[in-house]
Amino acid sequence: MSEQNTVILNSSGIERALTRIAHEILERNKGIDDLVLVGIRTGGDHLAAELARRIETIEGQGIELGAVDITMYRDDLGSRGSLPVGKTDILFSIDEKKVVLVDDVLFTGRTIRAAMDALMDLGRPRSIQLAVLIDRGHRELPIRPDYVGRNVPTAREEDIEVRFDQDNRAVEVRLIKQQGRGGN
């Protein structure tokens, strides 16, 4: 099995994409009133933290930040076995809030479906928006992102990997073409 890697975004590309998304979120929501960020573990929570830092710099005011673990909401328990369950840390009420859900890669949309179910169990947000660093297509559910870092056309059997450094900053996005093996 051989691997072929292509770097799609380097760290400055990621920086620019996140800065643009931060501005788009603020523009569309007209500031940060009632706005909260919730990242999907693991990956989305780190990106949500980076977006929160940028929004704070732009607005000069902090924004509520949470993380959701969707393992308990997955629809593939029987076929994948029991994956480790992480913690959901949303220490504020999401009732009547505009929630921006953040994930690294948008693929089938099943993760987002699960994350929305998880949020609904915690309260009744006024709205949920979706921000992703990479949209790679192949949706299986009627879900679309509101903010996208980069659209990357992919084949189903390819893989997208977002790498984080030890400080949980996204440093690189790679497209991995695997030969001699089916996709996931």
């Binding site: 308990m72 328990l77 369950v85």
Partner: protein, 313 residues
């Protein structure tokens, strides 16, 4: 990374990694129990049968709530009022239950090894909720969860277990689990309540409770099973004497570390193995154990529901 056990029959077949997987999974589930909406859809459409052939309030309720909070359908049966009272054998009862296609049977039974017997014969998962004087794995796991939560670690903890060691499935499961995670166990109890060859269990055996408690981080008191006293001939001269020599009171507790915690699996005999002032005192974590029990049992049900490979034993 997936959990490899289809059944939870005891702590003995579990590795150190398995134990930590269960405890870490329970951390994730604990948060659900403090929400307004205490329910996640994880086991939607699964059927769990709680078959309790021996009395239980806490464990049965805890498993039932755990199943319901995971959105499974839970059904309870007990021996009184069921066909067991009419003389049906365990295997026939189980085969009939299985014909209704449950996914998990949670079983308590007075005979040691009963869940193992079923696990060999049935297709569904079996979770042991206490079998005879053998094991009570979910209790030991919730005890470890509570110790780790209160003490921040398990390795190197000094744990005293006091009471009727030989008839206690709680003691046995805790002993296996604590040994596996690197805690040090001291056992104390009257000679009639220590199993033969007790020194081979991997614990320090103390004749006096004071010796076991001294410098301990955790003091776990076991219930004196009064029903056993009545049935098989007395193991104790009198409860008063037991209480004097092996009961935990504030005086004896001063021998433990200043931040030691007091545990009891319940139900307590106040004034026998534990004095009321200790049972209600600031060091007791007895209700934390009960609270954590739900999260730990949610983790067990979740993990066996996705566990793929067969257990050997």
């Amino acid at each position: 990374m997936a959990f490899g056990h289809k059944h939870i029959l005891g702590i003995e077949p579990l590795s150190r990694e398995d134990i930590f997987t269960i405890l870490d999974t329970a951390e994730g589930f604990k948060e659900i129990n403090s929400r307004d909406i205490k329910k996640v859809p994880t086991l939607r459409g699964r059927t769990i049968i709680n078959a309790f052939f021996e009395n239980s309030t806490r464990t049965r309720l805890s498993f039932e709530i755990a199943g319901k909070r995971l959105s499974a359908d839970t059904v309870n049966i007990s021996s009184s009022g069921s066909s067991v009272a009419k003389g049906e054998t365990l295997e026939d009862t189980a085969r009939n239950i299985e014909a209704m296609r449950p996914d998990i049977i949670v079983m308590r039974h007075g005979a040691s090894g009963a869940p193992h017997y079923l696990a060999e014969r049935l297709d569904c998962s079996v979770v042991n909720a206490g079998d005879g004087a053998h094991e009570h794995p979910s209790q030991a796991l919730l005890d470890l969860f509570t110790m780790r939560e209160k003490k921040g670690r398990l390795e190197g903890l000094e744990v005293a277990i006091v009471g009727d060691i030989s008839h206690s499935r709680v003691a046995r499961s805790n002993l296996y689990a604590l040994n596996r995670v690197g805690a040090n166990v001291r056992l104390a109890g009257p000679g009639t309540m220590l199993p033969p060859e007790v020194d081979r269990l991997g614990a320090r055996v103390c004749n006096r409770i004071e010796e076991a408690i001294e410098g301990a981080d955790v003091v776990m008191m076991l219930r004196i099973q009064l029903e056993r006293q009545a049935k098989g001939g007395p193991l104790l001269p009198s409860l008063r004497e037991y209480s004097r020599f092996y009961g935990l009171n504030p005086d004896k507790l001063t021998l433990a570390k200043p931040d030691a915690i007091v545990m009891h699996p319940g139900p307590m005999n106040r004034g026998v193995e534990i004095s009321s002032s200790v049972a209600d005192g600031s060091r007791n974590v007895i209700l934390d154990q009960v609270e954590n029990g739900v999260a730990v049992r949610m983790a067990l049900l979740y993990l066996v529901a996705g566990g793929e490979s067969e257990d050997k034993d």
